[in-house]
Symmetry: C2
Subunit: 240 residues, 2 copies
Amino acid sequence: MNPQAIKVACSNCNLRELCMPVGLSDQDMSRLDELVAVRRKVKRGSTLFTNGEKFTSLYAIRTGFFKTCLATEDGRDQVTGFQMAGEIIGLDGIVNDQHTCDAVALEDAEVCVMPFDRIEELSREVNALQHHVHKIMSREIVREHGVMLLLGSMRAEERLAAFLLNLVQRLHARGFSQSELVLRMTREEIGSYLGLKLETVSRTFSKFVEEEIVEVKQRHVRILSTEGLQRLVNNQAHCE
Amino acid sequence: MNPQAIKVACSNCNLRELCMPVGLSDQDMSRLDELVAVRRKVKRGSTLFTNGEKFTSLYAIRTGFFKTCLATEDGRDQVTGFQMAGEIIGLDGIVNDQHTCDAVALEDAEVCVMPFDRIEELSREVNALQHHVHKIMSREIVREHGVMLLLGSMRAEERLAAFLLNLVQRLHARGFSQSELVLRMTREEIGSYLGLKLETVSRTFSKFVEEEIVEVKQRHVRILSTEGLQRLVNNQAHCE
DNA sequence: CGAATTATTGATGACTTTCAAGGGATGTGG
DNA sequence: CCACATCCCTTGAAAGTCATCAATAATTCG
């Protein structure tokens, strides 16, 4: 059986509270089932879309873990985000009808493909969907403001602490532990996201271990003191 | 006469190509005139909206110049953008029905107030408006990706060069010079946006002057070598 | 005109990067 | 199932970049 032919139904999806509007009538909900054209599997290491590619759809992550990253001709490189189940990617492509970054699966993944013209069509008829789409985009804008604050005003320790707290909080919202996590990305990818070199990320992890804030075994991280991380992020030391 | 009572019409506005969809029928265009409830004047130094304030409207800048900035309780501070005539601000407020940053006028300004529920209503009926709203939000997301690249991977000179090029390019799109500009913000505000201290911004300006890339007299900047700035931004030196 | 804000410049120091080397982990093919 | 190649991570030493502290000058605004 072709996996792409599997009948898709948001109304039955256990992630729907993450990607869909809440409080829909049954009628509206069943209309939303039309949103997802197909599902698509993406192997670890391969791309869901790439810079320059024509934009057609938004993608809701069902399983797996992605990074989005910019690569300029002159060799600069920036991870702009890490995305997990229930999150929507592809918003960058709307403005110029083509994607402006790469979305790379960091582990085998599956996404729901939602053709954007269908989203716009349904949005005109289902008010809750319309508003939901607006909220998703606004949320991404606000998230990026936070990253700008991080990159613009935090030191290495603070950045990594904020990063870990953010990750674990999102994982917890998905039913995972509040204190344990498995990083799906390399030190280099973390560094790129945080505006640091991989050695700095590694050293900062080591420092946290020394201070008994976390335990680290390669990509397995156990947070021993959430407050310790919080204190770092809220540090007043470097502010006027 | 109450200035807020002035009859507002996007269809006659000389900025409409900047904030409105293009290629509308006369009929749709006249419908869009309903979008703008009133205009509002904002004195230099005062805020259009502030963090925590209830979100009601998006704002199209008619005249003047704004900064948007985040301020956390622990004293961190980050300018997230500078906005000029024809640009839309307030998108951050949609997701949680309240603004998450401050919008401060850096010179006396006037904005068109567009109640968001009216935008959503009209969006359902005028497809071009719906798509335009999506594009504006997507554009903001892409812009922020660019800022992340800047903050995450560029050195001071490169950041300031990119900043100047971006500013002058936007001003040029509004009919101003390609080579001369008046900064509306302080060195500290530039620094906050670029993740640098004001002294570093000042020093970097001085270095550019020494290298005869720009002339600087306080806030008046004349670009002598756009290519020089471009070369800095596209520098391969710090990339793998 | 004077106070306050803004900008410049120098000296010093902190933090991060760069360069380098070695150890572990992972995965593939024999 | 082991061996080997590759990738990833850690750690040290040195260098570079930017921040901080401080003093002065220029400008703006009431």
